[in-house]
């Protein structure tokens, strides 16, 4: 029984590899970092995901502490790597900012998230 169950589990893993599956895109790294403080105002927010994104159905918005958007609305994948997603920023005065992202992976799975960073005085 145990061998049969384990064999079936292994079969799923094998077939999955043959199907070249994609998955929900989780945030892997962020620049500025999640919850971090930067001394110089960044000109761009760059997010790296665990899966490639479909940029037409993905977005990054950056808001200041009053809820006003401070990004340039030009969210895009960077280079040839669809896991890197970035948006340009307006000049940021010191303060707290919130990054809100929505990621649609290339197989259309959707995830979203948010985090904050601070520009030091």
């Amino acid at each position: 029984m145990i061998r049969q169950v384990l064999a079936f589990a292994a079969g799923i893993a094998l077939c999955a590899s043959l199907n070249a599956a994609q998955a929900h895109a989780f945030l892997d790294t962020a620049d500025p970092t999640v919850g971090g403080t930067v001394k110089a105002a960044p000109q761009v927010v760059t997010l790296t995901f665990t899966e490639g994104l479909e940029p037409r159905f993905s977005s990054i918005m950056v808001e200041d502490s009053t809820g006003q958007r401070v990004d340039l609305g030009d969210a895009h994948t960077t280079g040839d790597d669809p896991t890197h997603f970035a948006v340009g920023l307006k000049p940021l005065p010191p303060g707290s900012y919130k990054v809100l992202w929505r990621a649609t992976s290339v197989d259309t799975h959707k995830t979203n998230g948010s985090y904050s960073f601070t520009v030091a005085p």
Binding site: V5, A9, A13, A23, E51, K110, N112
Partner: protein, 321 residues
Amino acid sequence: MLSRLKTGGAALVCTGGVLIGHAALAHGFAGDRFFPATLQTDDPFVADEASLPTLTKNPDDPTGGQSYTVETDIAKRLTSDFGLTAAYSWNYFQPKGAAAQYGFGGLSTGAQYQLFIDNDHEFMGLLGVDVDWGHTGAVNRGGADDHTTVSPTFDFGKGMGDLPDDLMWLKPFAVTGNIGVSFPTRVNSAGTLNQNTFNAGFAIEYSLEYLEHHVKDVGLSAPFDRLIPLVEITSTTPFNRGFNPDNGFTNGTGNGTTGLVAPGVIWAGQYSQIGLEAMIPYGEGQGHGVGVLMQMHFFLDDLFPDSIGRPILGAGNLFGA
């Protein structure tokens, strides 16, 4: 049943894969929050997932007898908010000083409806009905029931990501749980009363993935940035057929509240998760040992996003309609 499940599942797995893509729906997500599949308690979301296998070394019984369970579970969405579940097990008992017994446990099925998902507050709720079918396993050897039990449940999940920023270190916490009532369809089995029971279970989770990627980058890297330590607590309380509410006991045929406290950890990856928990029993009549449970769990919607990972009907179904 298991061989049919395996054969059918394998056929679906290996023939699916090229159907038209539509917007895929998420499993276990509410806003920023990813809820893993917990090991002891029902999950508050419909999903396309499979546990293959769940291996359990149960706590020893009061006489020192040992038992082991191998279980498979599968959950499949029919629509984006309605799904079915099925589970089957094989049990091995080694009574103290007696010959071992083993055989298949009974078939359990469930129907689930996603009541709501509140993304802003990382909150979700689900209504379900579980049925443990009688005479679907080895009644005399495998511990299967000789009667059917019907159990309506309400399951919920709540993440704490909406706490104020001053409490940022508490934001990775989440609670999932379920409450329900079980109604056996037979009054007694071999002279033992089959009582109606009130069932409750909770899982308190602290998601390092949420901490690292939504609250504060503390420098965790793989595999630690995908760990979710948790404690699960289950309870079962009989409320009829011999239960005495004055003292909580049941005429010597049953017990008051019994259950498990299960601390452990889940690692959740892109396509699968693996969980490990200790099982500490509590309540009168329970054993003294500590059990162990290990579960390998696959996200079928991530593994097979263009075929069996989609709902059968409705928006984004696997037929591309």
